[in-house]
């Protein structure tokens, strides 16, 4: 047992499948973006905006996002603990069950089996599958950490553990429901309580699935890629504890001005603003780690992805708290501004870090050099430009529509009917289609690069042994 090799095969599989689900997420996203501007592209009952949009979001979060978490964590935990995975069999089960869960989710959502709860639409049997999947993953990570050969746990491992616990609590509590049949259940909570529980889940799923894990990756892959250590261990400690403490108070900023009690909204607003500190703690830690290394932005494409990724994290964590302030929320909420915000986080921050992590892994898990660095650079510019077209056009659209919604005549009546404001959105919605297509072009290049690396990449000099599992 002691001499068992690192399990890279499982990392390869998770990389492949996460990328496949990522493509599905982006493809469905592009489809629904066209449905927004051309309603005749809805083909009921299955292929309508209402049924496809949850497939887009859930394929993105659970297929691509969680898939990359599985791939990178299963790699990082072995390296940081200097020991192979606790159980290869459990990891294999996790891989198959992961794909079974994602497929079951997509099929049931197409069929209209949905709870309607955003980012948690899947009905209760799928929730059970997701919980089993997460427990299998958690056991393997925790047991590997317990039998580690490196006494000190690096910061990435803390983020991993916090994410594992956090997701488990959030998902299970929000999934509570009473089934009426195999594919129909009613939430265990009603009305205002349900809303408050749900956005406690919704916002902290962002914290525990789309913030802590990419930070774990960032803290591991940035120093690995630059070759110099992280700037401040102490700063990372302070940022970690304050981040996981403060995040959980902020869910109700999604519910400002709703019937949720005011004091919850006020706490959410206050803690959201306070969250700028720990978020930017990590951003600064990233930037300061580049001291004397900024030339690598030019020389090393991985650094470009990682630094742009953490920059979008920084922007995201400034814009988010701004939106969490009551007055600003009153103006901007329910407009296209909000999806633009979300897509800066997902397409910019989380995906940039994920792409960099996968590029970093390729030579180590395949024992082959990345097929084409010029293609990786081209992909970088396409996803950057695609995302900026997407977000900037919809920020403008959001401000425009909010302004029109609030415009008043001198006699105190509204200046515009709802439809007069909506028709103004069409040009921006077309721009979104374009942004999505450009982004998808970048993603297709990424997949081509992965495929060619696996097929035709030149064997690495240093990592051949590692990839063969003898490191």
């Amino acid at each position: 047992m002691e001499n068992r090799a690192y399990n890279y095969a499982i990392v390869r599989s998770f990389v492949t499948w996460s990328v496949i689900w990522g493509l599905v997420a982006v493809l469905v996203g592009v489809i629904v973006s066209f449905q927004m501007v051309e309603p005749d592209l809805n083909f009921p009952p299955y292929l309508t905006f209402g049924r496809l949009r949850p497939i887009h979001t859930n394929a993105g979060i659970y297929g691509w996002g969680v898939g990359v978490i599985f791939a990178t964590f299963l790699y990082i935990v072995q390296r940081l603990c200097k020991t192979p995975l606790w159980s290869d069999k459990l990891a294999k089960f996790q891989l198959w069950f992961f794909n079974a869960t994602i497929i079951a989710s997509a099929v049931t959502l197409l069929l209209g089996y949905t709870t309607s709860k955003e980012y948690h639409e899947m009905e209760w049997p799928i929730d059970v599958m997701i919980i089993i999947l997460w427990v299998a993953f958690a056991i393997n990570i925790v047991m590997t950490i317990l039998k580690r050969k490196e006494e000190q746990m690096y910061i990435s491992l803390w983020y991993m553990l916090a994410a594992i616990i956090g997701v488990a609590i959030l998902f299970t509590v929000n999934a509570a429901a009473v089934p009426a049949s195999l594919f129909k259940s009613y939430s265990a909570y009603a009305g205002t309580n349900d809303a408050n529980v749900h956005w406690w889940f919704g916002h902290n799923a962002v914290a525990m699935a789309l913030t802590a894990p990419p930070l774990a990756m960032f803290y591991y892959f940035l120093p690995k890629s630059t070759g110099v250590p992280i700037y401040s261990h102490r700063l990372s400690i302070i940022a970690f504890w304050s981040l996981i403490f403060m995040y959980l108070w902020t869910g109700a900023h999604h519910l400002l001005w709703t019937p949720v009690p005011d004091w919850i909204q006020t706490l959410a607003m206050g803690f959201s603003v306070m969250l700028i500190a720990p978020s930017w703690g990590s951003v600064f830690n990233g930037y300061l780690s580049m001291n004397g290394q900024w030339h690598q932005m030019r020389d090393n494409y991985l650094i470009k992805y990682l630094i742009l990724g953490i920059t979008f994290y920084g922007l995201q964590t400034l814009q988010g708290p701004m939106q969490a302030i009551r007055t600003f929320s009153a103006f901007i909420h329910y407009t296209d501004w909000v999806p633009a915000h979300i897509h800066m986080g997902t397409m910019g921050w989380v995906s940039m870090i994920s792409f960099a992590s996968i590029y970093f892994l390729l030579p180590r898990i395949y024992g082959k050099e990345v097929y084409s660095i010029p293609l990786a650079n081209l992909q970088f510019w396409l996803i950057l430009v695609g995302q900026l077209i997407w977000s900037i056009s919809l920020w403008i659209a959001g401000v425009l529509q909010a302004g029109m919604w609030n415009a008043m005549n001198p006699d105190g009546s509204l200046t515009f009917t709802f439809m007069e404001t909506m028709v103004e959105m069409y040009p921006y919605w077309w721009a979104r289609c374009l942004g999505g297509l450009v982004y998808m072009a970048g993603l297709i290049i990424f997949i081509y690069n992965l495929y060619m690396t696996a097929k035709k990449g030149k064997p690495t000099v240093n990592n051949a042994a590692a990839a063969a599992g003898r490191a």
């Binding site: 501007v37 309603p39 009952p45 309508t48 905006f49 209402g50 049924r51 949850p54 209209g112 949905t114 709870t115 309607s116 709860k117 006494e151 746990m153 803390w158 553990l161 916090a162 616990i165 956090g166 509590v173 009426a180 049949s181 129909k184 009613y186 939430s187 909570y189 009603a190 009305g191 205002t192 309580n193 349900d194 809303a195 408050n196 406690w200 504890w241 996981i244 403490f245 403060m246 959980l248 108070w249 109700a252 519910l255 001005w257 709703t258 019937p259 919850i264 706490l267 959410a268 009153a330 329910y334 296209d336 909000v338 999806p339 609030n406 005549n409 006699d411 009917t417 709802f418 439809m419």
Partner: protein, 292 residues
């Protein structure tokens, strides 16, 4: 210390996560959906309404429509009385939504007659020209399943009668959807209490306006009235308007405040100026056209 002790780290992290969780997520259960926010008159959904709600969920309507009116001037003017916690005690799950690609629906009930909804679901663009909502006419082809609906009502613990379940036979999903639309936001009598009362004399600011000036106002009619009263005021869902023989002031009042029981929505949100333009347009445009 915790950097070397994973179990301790897990316990401490769990503690950090639970503080905010308990205060902002668990604690509100003490007040929400109790006597503290109860509203008399809020009723559970009927079997037909609940089935409509479940179809609304199945089709993902919540992806484009919110169901909560905020206590903000523009929200209240556009949609009606702001939403209150006690109105949602029977909502499992909540359907407040997060994006208004289409308008908020929290106060939709009673705004339009049933016929409007059937036509709009069948073909949204026939009623709202530049709408991007998909067609839902196909719901009419799907009969309801009374047995399943009964089981759902039992799961929810909502009261129902055998006759009510029997009455579902022969009804289709569209019927259920429209019943749900008409229930939304009607548990409190906000339409009656918010109805505008016109005080003082009404004076037509455009008295004696010529035909050419009125031509510019046609778009106000087309966007707001044509879907129900016809492109040429010939009457569709609503009555024919050509030669409407109401006094100017009465016509103003009908358009401005609506007819609560008659299916005529209030158009006060257009403002007095546009409503006066409509009064003149409806009353005199075709009349003068005849003289040409």
């Amino acid at each position: 210390m915790w950097e070397k002790k994973p179990v301790l780290l897990i316990i401490m992290a769990t503690g950090a996560i639970l503080v905010g969780t308990i205060i902002t997520m668990v604690l509100p259960f003490v007040w929400v959906n109790t006597d503290a926010d109860r509203i008399e008159g809020v009723k559970p959904y009927t079997a037909l309404q609940q089935e409509g709600r479940d179809i609304y969920i199945r089709e993902g309507c919540n992806n484009c429509h919110t169901q909560t009116v905020r206590p903000l001037v523009s929200d209240v003017l556009r949609y009606g009385e702001y939403s209150k916690s006690g109105e949602f005690v029977y909502d499992r799950p909540f359907l407040w939504g997060s994006k208004r690609t289409g308008p908020d629906l929290a106060r939709l009930g009673g705004k339009y007659p049933d016929t409007w909804h059937y036509k709009h679901m069948e073909s949204p663009r026939a009623m709202v020209p530049k709408s991007n909502m998909p067609d839902y006419g196909w719901l009419s082809a799907n009969p309801l399943d009374p047995q399943m609906i009964q089981r759902k009502m039992e799961t929810l613990g909502f009261p129902f009668t055998a006759e009510e379940i029997k009455a579902l036979e022969g009804k289709n999903e569209m019927d259920a959807m429209v019943a749900y639309m008409q229930k939304l936001g009607t548990d409190i009598p906000w339409r009656q209490s918010n109805a505008t009362e016109i005080v003082g004399d009404l004076t037509n600011p455009y008295a004696g306006v010529d035909h050419d000036s009125m031509e510019a106002w046609e778009s106000i009619y087309t966007e707001n009235c044509a879907a129900c009263h016809g492109e040429h005021m010939e009457g569709v869902i609503g009555p024919e308007l050509v030669g409407a023989d109401y006094e100017e002031e009465v016509l103003f009042e009908i358009i401005y405040t609506g007819i609560a029981d008659g299916g005529m929505p209030s158009f006060s949100s257009l403002g007095t100026d546009k409503v006066w333009k409509l009064v003149n347009f409806i009353k005199y445009y075709h009349l003068e056209e005849g003289h040409h």
